[in-house]
């Protein structure tokens, strides 16, 4: 009888866990739609880095082809980086420099360059990279207008190697599931950045227009990642071949 009760309890717990995991996956998919509105996108992105004292540090422009199956091609367009490209195919990454005819295979650690890493620019979804659990309902923020709103708190763990952040504490709107804020932790479980998401229409949000990243580790700079335009676009398969990209073909 004892064995039966134990088995029943374990089975119930497993079913509950599976249901919760399914709930979290569905919530993440709904949240992803605010950044990745289609499976294949072309996104024009601008980054502005601001120093801790509020003075502007630098500005960068990127064209991102965010494609299905966790494939992204980032084209750097600012003078300091013009011609550079980063290709991400699942867990595999290449850096292409304009004066080099060879694609450089890079590790996930080498991808974490800069105030807004290439991962911050190219990664526009969580559902395929993270699993998680529901922590509960909490105020969206400690202060300001968001404090009055109720958010759902999700705790996410990376389910794949090569992602920029190992753990994410994510708060999403309770009724519409839009992303509100996130704490981003790197491999050593150190809080690396805090993210805040700016929506197009706060009362009835349809898309994220800006992600504000506050560095919590080294320089305490703030990075504004602005999504200037999004349009649905599937690129030809050879554009995602690093050997094709070293030819510096026109990618328009």
């Amino acid at each position: 009888m004892k064995t039966f009760r134990f088995t029943l309890a374990a089975a119930t717990a497993l079913i509950a866990l599976a249901a919760q995991a399914q709930d979290v996956a569905a919530l993440l998919k709904a949240t992803d739609k605010y950044r990745m509105s289609a499976d294949n996108l072309q996104v024009e992105t601008q980054i502005n880095v601001v120093n801790a004292d509020g003075t502007p540090d630098k500005e960068r422009r990127y064209k991102v082809f965010a494609q299905a199956k966790r494939q992204s091609l980032v084209l750097m367009q600012s003078p300091a980086e013009a011609g550079q490209k980063v290709l991400m195919l699942g867990d595999d990454f290449w850096l292409l420099m304009p004066n080099s005819q060879r694609p450089l295979r890079i590790t996930p650690m080498q991808k974490l360059l800069g105030d807004a890493s290439t991962g911050d620019v190219a990664t526009m979804s969580w559902a395929e990279d993270y699993t998680g659990k529901l922590v509960g309902e909490e105020p969206c923020d400690d202060s300001g207008a968001a404090a009055k709103q109720t958010c759902v708190h999700l705790s996410l763990s990376a389910s794949r190697k090569g992602v920029t952040y190992q753990r994410i504490e994510l708060w999403i709107g309770k009724s519409r599931n839009e992303p509100v804020r996130a704490d981003l932790y790197v491999l050593s479980d150190k809080l690396a950045k805090q993210a805040r998401f700016v929506m197009d229409k706060p009362s009835a949000p349809t898309m994220v227009t800006e992600m504000v990243l506050s560095d919590q580790v080294s320089n305490h700079k703030t990075t504004h990642v602005r999504y200037l335009s999004r349009k649905e676009r599937q690129v030809p398969p050879e554009w995602l071949n690093p050997m094709f990209l070293v030819r510096n073909p026109p990618l328009e």
Binding site: D92, L112, R247
Partner: protein
């Protein structure tokens, strides 16, 4: 000759400029670099001995200042890179040069791509040494890197999502007696992406050097570690490279490579190369060492680079060391210093 090159390039730039007004698809760009390199003559070696016996019998190394402008234009299936250089040495002598780094036509037909003209084609996976650099055959570990001068070639390539084939006829109009990078040759490369590993296969038939084949791979073994290797055999030579790059969360990076170069003189066939660098905001300090175990010769380089939006400034020191009989100690230079500023437009 100088005027002809500059004239041809100017015509090309003008033609591309006219084309731009028609369709707006042409891209222009370039960079200007001002650099100074100082050299310290070696106190040992044949050059120093000759000079000790009779002063002025040989030219000793001197410092040089250089202004280099690189112009790029591409569009409508044409690409070109032109370099204009003015050089002045400490002795007062100055000279101006201009050359075309690249000038080629390219055409795409679906998965097929064709190129004809002077073009830089760099193969293989190594940093300090590349056994299968069958086309460009570039000099590695230069003090300051600059845009290479391409080779005349005809090339056909085929791409799909994970495979690339390249067929190259390099130096098609050169004499069969030409050697090294100028030798007429047919070369083939096959690239295959397979998850965390990039595989490369190579083959080359030179007009008089004969046939050689090679293989290379680059493998991302973990979040922090990349390993690579390259092997080439045939045409009377063997070359082998093994290496890896480790990078930590703070962007501290260590590159280690060891290689065997069967084409080098006996004392320089075995080599070990280490490079430690750190990327911190706009700054990148780096230290590297090339060591030749056979004679214990070594080259040490320390450098510092600052990268701004359009401006890059870099400086460094390089010194040659080892026992008096080491090959590197027979070179005319014992130490070098450099500083360079580059403006991108």
């Amino acid at each position: 000759m100088h005027r002809i090159i500059v004239g041809a390039a100017a015509l090309l730039f003008a033609a591309l400029g006219w084309a731009q007004t028609e369709t707006g698809a042409t891209q222009f760009g370039g960079q200007a670099r001002l650099q100074w390199i100082g050299q310290q003559a070696s106190g040992s070696g044949p050059l120093a001995q000759a000079n000790a016996l009779q002063g002025g019998i040989v030219d000793l190394p001197v410092g040089t200042a250089l202004l280099e402008t690189e112009l790029r234009a591409s569009g409508h299936g044409l690409s070109s890179v032109l370099t204009l250089q003015q050089q002045r040495s400490d002795g007062g002598a100055s000279q101006s040069r201009a050359w075309v780094n690249e000038l080629y036509a390219a055409h795409g037909a679906g998965a097929w791509q064709f190129s004809a003209g002077k073009k830089i084609v760099a193969w293989d996976v190594g940093y300090g040494f590349r056994p299968n650099d069958m086309i460009q055959q570039e000099q590695r570990r230069t003090l300051l890197s600059s845009t290479l001068e391409g080779r005349p070639l005809l090339m056909a390539e085929h791409f799909d999502a994970s495979t690339a084939w390249s067929w190259v006829w390099v130096n098609p109009t050169a004499s069969n007696d030409a050697s090294g990078a100028a030798e007429p040759a047919l070369a083939l490369r096959l690239y295959q992406r397979d998850g965390a590993v990039d595989w490369h296969g190579f083959a080359r038939i030179g007009a008089h050097s004969g046939a050689s084949v090679g293989a290379a791979a680059s493998w991302v073994a973990s979040d922090a570690l990349e390993l690579h290797g390259s092997l080439r055999t045939g045409a009377g030579l063997q070359k082998l490279l093994l290496g890896g790059t480790w990078t930590d969360q703070n962007q501290l990076s260590l590159l280690t490579e060891a290689w065997w170069d069967g084409s080098a003189i006996s004392m320089l066939r075995r080599n070990l190369y280490l490079r430690l660098s750190w990327q911190h905001d706009a700054w990148q300090p780096a230290l590297d060492m090339l060591y030749t175990p056979a004679d214990q010769g070594r080259i040490l380089t320390a450098s510092l680079t600052w990268q701004g939006d359009r401006v890059q400034v870099q400086g460094g020191l390089r010194s040659y060391g080892g026992p008096a009989n080491a090959v590197l100690m027979q070179l005319p230079v014992s130490a070098m210093a450099y500083i360079a500023g580059t403006w991108t437009f």
